[in-house]
Symmetry: C2
Subunit: 234 residues, 2 copies
Amino acid sequence: MRVEIWSDIACPWCYIGKARFEQALAAFPHRDGVEVVHRSFELDPNTPRGTTAPVVEMLAAKYGRTLDEARSMEANVASNAHGEGLGYVLEGRDHGNTFDIHRLLHLAKARGVQDALLDLAYRTNFADERSVFDPEVLIGLAVEAGLDETEARAVLADEDAYADEVRADEREAAELGANAVPFFVLDRRYGVSGGQPAEVFAQALEQAWKDRAPLAPVSGAAEGATCAPDGTCA
Amino acid sequence: MRVEIWSDIACPWCYIGKARFEQALAAFPHRDGVEVVHRSFELDPNTPRGTTAPVVEMLAAKYGRTLDEARSMEANVASNAHGEGLGYVLEGRDHGNTFDIHRLLHLAKARGVQDALLDLAYRTNFADERSVFDPEVLIGLAVEAGLDETEARAVLADEDAYADEVRADEREAAELGANAVPFFVLDRRYGVSGGQPAEVFAQALEQAWKDRAPLAPVSGAAEGATCAPDGTCA
């Protein structure tokens, strides 16, 4: 079974939802038969690349609230994060364009370290004092995740590198009807939207596992030539 | 859409089927939306590791035929290969246990070069004079595919490295009802068995693309907290 997770490292409910999903997966009896794939979704694609703004001020502007009200919104999210054992700093976080981070996450996917880089990016953005929008911080995370520094720098420097992969993920999200994240898709059969409680993810895993359907033949295909596990072909 | 292909580098119909599938995929209008994943299936798991036998003699013994009859079977396969523009040597090929090659292909998958290594292993086994069952030849292919030599050697030397991944692929094949290869699975919805003509793969791609179903909600899941592409969360 395959679970695809569309998310953005700037999305607090993705951060929290990933932890809750992983709790459910760790307790799922068939967890060894579950493959997790992370997919790109830009939370705020219209933010110009290379610029950042403090999160609290951004929230106040977007929602038309006072700074204190925005801080209280952040405190509510933080209490949800703390409930999952996740760190969450209330002041000093940056908001910015995440396209380059998604491109780097696709390099990490190609090198087998995507989940590691995603966890580091979440932790840095939400729990640390460092800005994940600082390219040098990002390179540090890439190296910590196991990427080659020269290769990571080359990808960040080349705006086209892995750009198609980010766009393809976003196009698929749209085709699947996802207009917000996190968005979890189980075997392209079930969709779960949002940073749900772990129990909902547990229920989704059970349901998708139970409902795995037998494969259908393709219309008009006769038996093709195959080789069997005794070494013979027919 | 995702196409999973169970195969073995010792299986001539997998070699031919891969080329035919790729012809169909290259002509498929939605090819950019198709992800291909290779999965392990040992053609002859009971062959002791580290031993090899000439293919023609192995075929004669397995089918109870004369060497000339076995050569004629190989010539028939070769003409199918040549029909796809693939090389195929008629004499001097080895047959052996492919478990270690599958383990190395899983390392290659983790490093993003699985398709390259698979193509090199096929070409070496079927079209070249070299034996893919020679560990030094295999290391050469690994390096040519882009793997780190030290890492590839470490994986070959450690019998447990990626062994679980090979077994998991084989368990999934059995669960999906595949008892011979090549076996193609489209979005876990359609199965195509054998090295079919490219037209059959084209038909399978079209049918699976057309029948992509909308996602179902999970029973009992309320709306979870999400963040939308204007940077706001709810």
